[in-house]
Amino acid sequence: MTAPKLHIVHLYPNEMNTYGDRGNLLTLKRRAEWHGLEPMIHYYHAGNTFPADADIVLGGGGQDSAQDAIQDDILGIGNELHRLVDKGVPMLLVCGAYQLFGKRFITSGGQEIKGIAVFDVETMASPKRLVGNIAIETADFGTLYGFENHSGRTILGQDQEVFGTVIRGNGNNGSDKTEGARTHNAIGTYMHGPLLPNNPMLTDNLLQVALRRRGIEYKLRTLDDHLAKQTAKNAKSRLY
């Protein structure tokens, strides 16, 4: 059997890459290879045609200036992204990309930036950044560890599913214990770290869901994850 191909689309890699989010792409790529799959990486830049056969979509954090620059473009591909979400394509949208996949972002100056509303969430800028190690509990992926660094406070709409519950740290807004949002298989989150290498069960789940959605029953291999287990163990006992 030839290795199944998986098309991984990385959104705006040159603008949305502030906090090592490139590590999420590297982790997906390497784990796909180690599992015997053939990952195909597509960098989506503003103005490009959106790749037709996306299996996994990734987006990272950006500076405010970068978010401005891609604002019009992401609204232009909003329908395409909605269609993929509805089809169950797994996505991981971190920080700035999470905010742009929400309904709107209100800047500190009161200006409203429209998002594509995959998630029923709204974000308001706040003068104090929420920065630090974070641990959350999720229904499908267990306990996840990361690092958050955001000025936005995000509030979920009434029926919006959350990604996880904060065990330690701030999450969406520092007050309601929610972290991130989830719509079908699209995940929005504030967790850097980066998230995927530190939480390989989540990474493998993205790969498995992507394969299944294409009708491929494929048993992922057992990989050597002793280092990720060690970092998780350290994160668990970390005091702050």
């Binding site: 502030t18 989010d21 590590g23 660094n149």
Partner: protein, 424 residues
């Protein structure tokens, strides 16, 4: 009056800290004087006939400051500077009170201070420097700064406080754009276009698809240009004259920083002879923990190299990993190191693929090993305890290089001082 009181107070506190055997007492005298005698620092520094020069930026502050200080001293100037690592205002106040006479006089011609980019405005509110050298703006400790544009704004604000001249890096688009926006005279330093690939700008560190920086390098005449380097040899151009020099300071990034140091010294001493400056530059040794070399008891060499962010780690890998060397990487996550490990994923470690890392150390040793796993770099031993790690590492016979974050570097430096033969 406050010059005398502040100086005596600073000296007294420093003495008390010393008597009680406390280490790290650099900041305390400054903190107390700053609180009790407002205006002390400004009053003291106004005595200096040649004023104050500030060096700031993300990477290279300490080494560049050392170069500028030693070049000025070689030209006969009496130079006041701050102790390594004390780059906040209170550290400077400590230095000033300890080096002043009891009568509150500063027996120096000029002060050259390295300033932390986040705290530089505290200083420039007190005193406008004559010269400011802005080296570069790069993603660094984003748990402190938030984002790169913010880093550039902080450095830019310091540059714009210069009363006489700004010196900055023409190849750093964010800083050169700030310099171009002002009426303050500017001297630019830079590298030859063919060398730009060795000195990637922040946006290029993470760009994909051959994506390049959104802003271009400034098309400006350079006061000093790094034209060429190979091994320890570097060629600098001052106007139309070229000078070749052999540096003891290591690391290709420092060849670029030296261009900045030379440009600042030329601004301070317009009549200085470039040939003499190039000659004096060759005599300068690496700064504390910045590519510093130690000869170990077993005869091997060890180079200790601070890494702080993707740019400095990348430059360190390119400069110090050579055939036959073994590597140790020590990562801590204290505030001074940066608490977020994400930045390690913006560093490309594939150059280590055929040179396995002997040790990953520090409290984030496992995170470092995990990062390396995804670049197919094997780590032989994971040892969070720095003392234990250094002991194992020093037992190896090969020549060695250590990459360490700030607090890990300080600790390793102290241990090496005890067990190594000598610093070269």
């Amino acid at each position: 009056m406050r010059k005398v009181t502040g100086t005596v107070l600073g000296k007294t506190v420093a003495q008390a800290v010393k008597l009680r055997g406390k280490s790290g007492g650099q900041a305390l005298p400054g903190l107390i004087v700053e609180t009790l005698i407002p205006g002390y620092l400004g009053a003291m520094l106004q005595q200096l006939p040649d004023g104050v020069a500030i060096i700031t930026g993300t990477n290279g502050k300490t080494t560049t400051t050392k170069m500028v200080v030693e070049l000025l001293r070689a030209s006969g100037k009496k130079v006041l500077t701050n102790a390594t690592g004390s780059n906040l205002t209170r550290g400077i106040i400590s230095s000033v009170s300890q080096q002043a006479t009891k009568a509150g006089r500063l027996p120096f011609d000029i002060a050259v201070f390295e300033l932390d980019e986040a705290y530089a405005s505290q200083f420039t509110r007190v005193l406008k420097p004559r010269f400011v050298l802005g080296l570069n703006a790069s993603r660094d400790q984003l748990d402190r700064f938030g984002e790169v544009d913010m880093v550039a704004r902080l450095i830019g604000d310091t540059m714009l406080s210069a009363s006489e001249r700004i010196i900055t890096n023409a190849d750093d688009q964010r800083l050169s754009a700030i310099a171009a926006s002002t009426k303050i005279p500017v001297s630019y330093f830079g590298v030859a276009p063919s060398l730009l690939t060795y000195f990637p700008r922040d946006d290029e560190l993470v760009a994909v698809d051959g994506g390049t920086a959104t802003l271009q390098a400034a098309e400006v005449p350079l006061a000093v240009e790094l034209m060429h380097f190979r091994g320890t040899e570097a060629v600098y151009r001052f106007g139309k004259q070229k000078f070749t020099t052999n540096l003891q300071i290591t690391g290709q990034h420092n060849f670029q920083n030296a261009a900045g140091a030379l440009a600042l010294v030329q601004a301070i001493l317009p009549k200085a002879d470039p040939a003499a400056l190039a000659k004096d530059l060759a005599k300068i040794k690496p700064a504390f923990g910045r590519g510093q070399a130690f000869r170990l008891k077993n005869g091997s060499m060890l180079q200790l190299n601070l890494v702080k962010n993707p740019a400095s780690f990348r430059q360190g890998l390119a400069s110090y990993v050579k055939p036959g060397t073994v590597t140790m990487i020590a990562i801590n996550d204290n505030i001074a190191d940066g608490r977020d490990m994400s930045w390690l994923w913006d560093v490309d470690f594939t150059s280590l693929q055929h040179r396995p890392v002997a040790l990953a150390a520090g409290c984030r040793a496992a995170d470092m090993a995990l990062r390396l796993q995804y670049d197919d770099v094997a780590v032989q031993t994971i040892e969070p305890d720095l003392e234990q790690a250094l002991r194992i590492f020093c037992g190896l016979s090969e020549n060695k290089v250590i990459f360490a974050t700030y607090t890990a570097m300080l600790k390793l430096h102290a241990m090496l001082g005890k067990q190594a033969g000598k610093t070269l």
